[in-house]
Subunit: 355 residues, 3 copies
């Protein structure tokens, strides 16, 4: 699985990278949303649901914990993210993987003049999986490339790098949509409405691209002009023949949606003082919108929220963002099991369960 | 177990809150010392001693670890307290609960404008128990109330909130007294002397109130006038008909005590620079006081200490504060087992052990 | 195992201290490199190799994890060192020891005026092993002495204290040399070349002393005059009759070496701003030196490195510093097993494996 030179690797497109990231046809590294194909998404959703079902009994929880109890994972979080950290940490615990964390990466070896690559290679020596969050875009890819040129390659999961990639967020969004539409024929043919800061939100960009794998999905983007999706994304949608609209008519979009995907303003990437909640984008989902929303539609949000969604909306059964949070943990469980090729064992246990 | 509105909940007295915190007659949440009745304290002490005894063999330790090994706990420590943190962390490990920690809560979602309630609800999604320390009084209660209005209620243990409540400290104090007086008929009828900063110390306030549940206990408060117990506590003692004295005659109080409960000055709540050890209150327990102390009396301290107790005192068998530290871990073990209703299993194992 | 007064203890030489640290002839505490004798080093290397071999199968990994799964370790790192921390953390996980960490020791009890000794004694109450890193030289020894005067003595492993002692680094260096020379009769008679900052590097000082236990070893020290080894070390080498040379002829030393032990400049102990990589000592091992190096020789480095070794050297099979990193984890596994007297169980499992 040698990845050649770094320059050659960087020049690769998603398709070529997939061969490096998924050497046996399944993910070894999980680095960019574009590496996942439809077959993988379907299988991951199935595995997620099976793992959740198995975990409903103590015996099932013990079964899951046994699967990777002889392995260790490092959670290398050079950028703080308690939410993503805990979700991965709990996912590791569910499958028995012993976790260790590195949060503050500035205190130690870098002070002594070590390169970041040497640091991560050293830390990787002790573990069987690296889960990595880093403020620098492409850093997780670089580490995966670097390790692939050593004699001890360990899988790398990207838990968010820079402004661009957060692939497991995209996976949990897909899973939440798939679960929400399970009784209605799945994601195919549904109308997905994205609302808010669509220019910078990496979750929207990744999800919009993955949705291209589902025939008949139409996409609607509700944002002020300054926050609308970029031309690279519209070009990709055009090329794929995906129907989409860009609008500021929030109410109409809500009333026509199968799913409303709310997002907050992403000003933590801006320089200068952070704004307190309240002066984000103008589209706020309130109790009034529950009346506009179809009975079978759902509201998602990657969280954290500010005032894009009023707390009063939480109690409505169509508000699925709190379930989305737990889905994130279970999708990560399934991803880890998939990387370590434990899915067949899960299938067998599940088959016994439903027999 | 819906707790109604926050305003209505806040207006409740301890008795009413108990119905919310202990829905089935046993603690589900452990939030304030006043929620515990005498039957619970007796049962908790019994369970603590049984767990300790079981843990003396490897087989027993494996039994305890198995009890909650399919569960996960979050230790949410928004206020640093290494001692309390480690005590709970070890208690989780003893019963097999997989722990995860959140210490620095300022770095992540709050920066992005999320409400503290949303943060904790998100984090709680991944875990089966929340152990929470927070600088804001009542915060743990608020979280327990908040979760009780969701469809995924997890128990909350208050590991110290603000200046007022640190209920597991009160529990470990009760257990230490009960163990110390085991061969002398228990806590009933004993004379307990509190010394030091009695105005601010939450441990003294909580313990003094719990001792009202033990008939015949007399309480003595040794403090400079500015640090004496408040009128709310004396009013409660009067109302309960508990005999008590307030004095500055430290030597006499020591000579008449069954237990001397030393405390340090609590100036970390003051503004301004902290004092180094040595200029606290004037009552220091030294080797000289060991001669005044009855042979069967004991000396407690919630720790950390400054110079209230001379290190030379440590070697005396009546100095039980180091044992008190370990008792804290075991009481927390028993509390967690009780919350998860594992006490019957402990009883059975223990019965086999002593048969 | 009472250690008498602190003053008397400090005045002891390594031989006398060994009786305190190794009360039953085997390490109970692991505090200074000088406490280890040749028999222990040989046994530790054997145990390390056996544990590694056992860990190659899932069954073996489960066996190792079972050995100490009823025990808990505290990693008390008052000085940041992610590398050493993770190595010990992973070692604990391998043998099933449940780890807990204390990194930031300034936030809590010290603010409240507690002595460091009281803090560590409190924390030690909850655990069965203390792994300690501290910026103050001799601190780990002081804690071991302090605990030896209490009724709950737990073993202490020194993970680096001050500028002088880092005994497990010395152990992993010995193991790496022993493994490298396994097919060539072991370490005896080999020529070991130390390069770089030899004045301050504690790893060099400890390793040079341990090598005196191996007959026939000659030592060569390559450093600018200002960074050469101190007179205390040369005096010890003279007293032991060990042949050694001090030189600045790096190329010749490399060409004659069985092992080249590279080190970086240790300027993190200096006051003032840290230098970025690149202006350390003048001896850099580059691809050119691979041609000078004997085919069966090896290159070690305790890491982190700056530019003492060019990254291009990494791919050469004689560059063993990345293996050295993993060796560190396995030596710590063996040390912990040895302290808890689990070595006989490892021997039995290993004997079944090779039968």
């Amino acid at each position: 699985m040698s990845a050649g030179s770094w320059a050659a690797f960087q020049a690769m497109g998603p398709e070529e990278k997939r061969a490096v990231f998924q050497p046996g046809g399944r993910p070894f590294h999980a680095l960019i949303a574009e590496q996942f194909d439809r077959a993988f998404l379907d299988r991951l959703c199935e595995l997620t649901t099976r793992a959740r079902r198995i975990a409903k009994t103590r015996g099932g929880r013990l079964f899951l914990q046994d699967l990777l109890c002889d392995r260790r994972a490092m959670l290398y979080f050079a950028q703080p993210s308690t939410r993503t950290f805990l979700s991965f940490y709990a996912a590791c615990q569910i499958v028995g993987l012993h976790p260790a964390e590195v949060r503050d990466t500035s205190t130690s070896s870098e002070l002594k003049g070590e390169s970041p690559e040497d640091s991560v290679r050293t830390f990787s020596s002790y573990f069987d999986l690296i889960i990595m969050r880093h403020p620098v875009g492409g850093f997780a890819e670089r580490i995966a490339w670097l390790l692939s040129n050593t004699d001890r390659v360990v899988p790398v999961i990207n838990a968010g790098s820079g402004k661009d990639q957060h692939p497991t967020q995209a996976l949990l969004d897909i899973y939440t949509l798939q679960r929400s539409f399970e009784a209605r024929g799945g994601i195919e043919g549904k109308r997905i409405v994205f609302v808010g800061d669509l220019a910078r939100g990496r979750t929207v960009r990744s999800l919009a691209r993955l949705l291209m794998l589902y025939p008949g999905v139409s996409q609607c983007f509700v944002a002020p002009e300054s926050l609308q999706i970029g031309s690279d994304l519209t070009a990709a949608l055009d090329a794929a023949g995906v129907p989409y609209t860009c609008t500021t008519d929030f109410d109409r979009a809500v009333s026509e949606a199968d799913a409303v995907y709310m997002t907050r303003i992403q000003d933590e990437w801006d320089a200068g003082p952070k704004r307190a909640g309240g002066d984000g984008h103008p589209f706020h989902f309130t109790e009034r919108h529950l009346d506009l929303l179809r009975p079978e539609a759902v509201v998602l949000h990657p969280l954290p929220r500010r005032d894009e969604i009023a707390p009063e909306v939480d109690a409505d059964p169509r508000a699925v963002y709190w379930r989305q949070v737990r889905n994130g943990m279970w999708v990560r469980v399934a991803l880890i099991l998939s990387i370590f090729e434990k899915d067949a064992e899960v299938d067998r246990y599940h088959a016994d369960l439903v027999r």
